[in-house]
Symmetry: none
Subunit: 250 residues, 2 copies
């Protein structure tokens, strides 16, 4: 399939489906097919255990182009670079609650917050144990697929199917365009800010990395939930720099 043909299948050119450390190549192929059926083609694979593999091609059926054009990276950071919205699929209750979406509200958010100048990523974890807490803390929102109580663990590609199905459903309705005066900060800009914040917290003696007491996790939840725009991140960093200049000159 030519690039042009693959592109014509892509109704959501700014949406990345990110599979993290997938064990079974068959699931990669089945996920690619589920994506393409719903008009999504940008597949990212973070350190897949066994890829490329013939099983991925076989299970993808007529979505072999999605498999072949998948972007393979070695970290979640690379997979979400340049994204302004990152959502992580999560089956389990977490110790610190995070902003939580249903598949439908996730899809509505994805559809209405699409931009030309940056991307959206939806993360799917390992077959055995999903996304790690650290990976989930990189997401502004978590999305949970409701299940019956007796058996709550969906197959990975099935989860991709449900989320992509809802995205196509949401796109068919009217998208709601939020109006804002500044572009959103990318997640990597937020990440640089978090590093700067942690250094400053240590500097002023408010944070002891030896005894963290959930401080950084809670601050990370706060700033990912906030979804700052570019100017806000610049203001916050400007404040930290001003603090640094005053405290480091002693």
């Amino acid at each position: 399939m030519t690039d042009d043909m693959a592109e014509s299948a892509n109704l959501f050119p700014s949406v990345r489906i990110v599979l993290v450390e997938t064990s079974h190549p068959g699931n990669i192929g089945a996920a690619a097919r589920a994506m393409k059926n719903m008009g999504l083609t940008r597949l990212y694979l973070v350190s897949p255990e066994d890829f490329p593999n013939e099983k991925a091609v076989f299970r993808s059926a007529s979505a072999v182009d999605v498999v072949e054009r998948a972007t393979v990276v070695s970290s979640v950071d690379e997979a979400i670079e340049g994204c302004h919205l990152v959502v992580g699929t999560s089956a389990r209750e977490r110790r610190i609650p995070w902003p939580l979406l249903t598949p439908k509200s996730c899809a509505e958010k994805v559809v209405s917050e699409r931009r030309d100048d940056s991307d959206i990523a939806i993360l799917f974890g390992r077959e055995s144990r999903g996304l790690t807490n650290e990976e989930l803390h990189r997401c502004q929102f978590h999305v949970n697929i409701p299940t019956g109580k007796a058996y709550s663990s969906l197959n990975l590609a099935m989860a991709v199917q449900v989320i992509c199905y809802e995205i196509l459903q949401a796109a068919e309705g009217e998208p709601l365009e939020p109006d804002w005066d500044m572009p959103p900060a990318t997640t990597d800009a937020v990440e640089h800010f978090m590093t700067h914040l942690e250094e400053t917290l240590v500097d002023v003696g408010f944070h002891d990395p030896e005894n963290p007491r959930q401080l950084m996790t809670r601050l990370r939840r706060l700033f990912t939930r906030l979804r700052p725009d570019e100017m806000e991140i610049n203001m916050l960093r400007g404040f930290l720099t001003a603090v640094n200049q005053r405290t480091r000159s002693d």
Copy 2:
């Protein structure tokens, strides 16, 4: 698994999922898992090509009970006997239009028309060519899963997943409410924080009240939008106090 355990997994005891002449046993297992994930357990197989088969058991994961208790019959007539509502999945446009449902409206119908004294059947056709016209004409309604134009043929088990997902959604009704671990901060607590923040910004030389440049307005918008919880406000104020102690001791 005992009968009792299987029954407890069944939220829809009157709903039959009917797979017609399935070629690949793996799809039967994957469909069984998709069903049980969504609280459905009554699987009917019309003349499966290769069943029982180890692949069906493997792909069913923890839904092996659904596979083992499947009812195998030799005709669609037997599979829909005793049903008051029969819906057939259909990918294609048919020559004679039939009452057509979306997955969501199909699910709402299934949920609202459940009865104790008779059953509902949802039919899924062959991997290669779906249901025959004759089979589709046995159904009161057809249901079509919307897809992108480029690739419209869903894997069989994926179609089962989408339909069963919508059935559980329709039955749950209530949207998932995100649970939070801390009470929200009061508006006066946020206001005290804003005052403390402005003082600190002036202290470190980042904010000049004579030349404000929208800074405080933008920061107010930021923290209002954030809707911090009590602990977050305490952490932010703790940080400002630590900054104050370092900068005011000069």
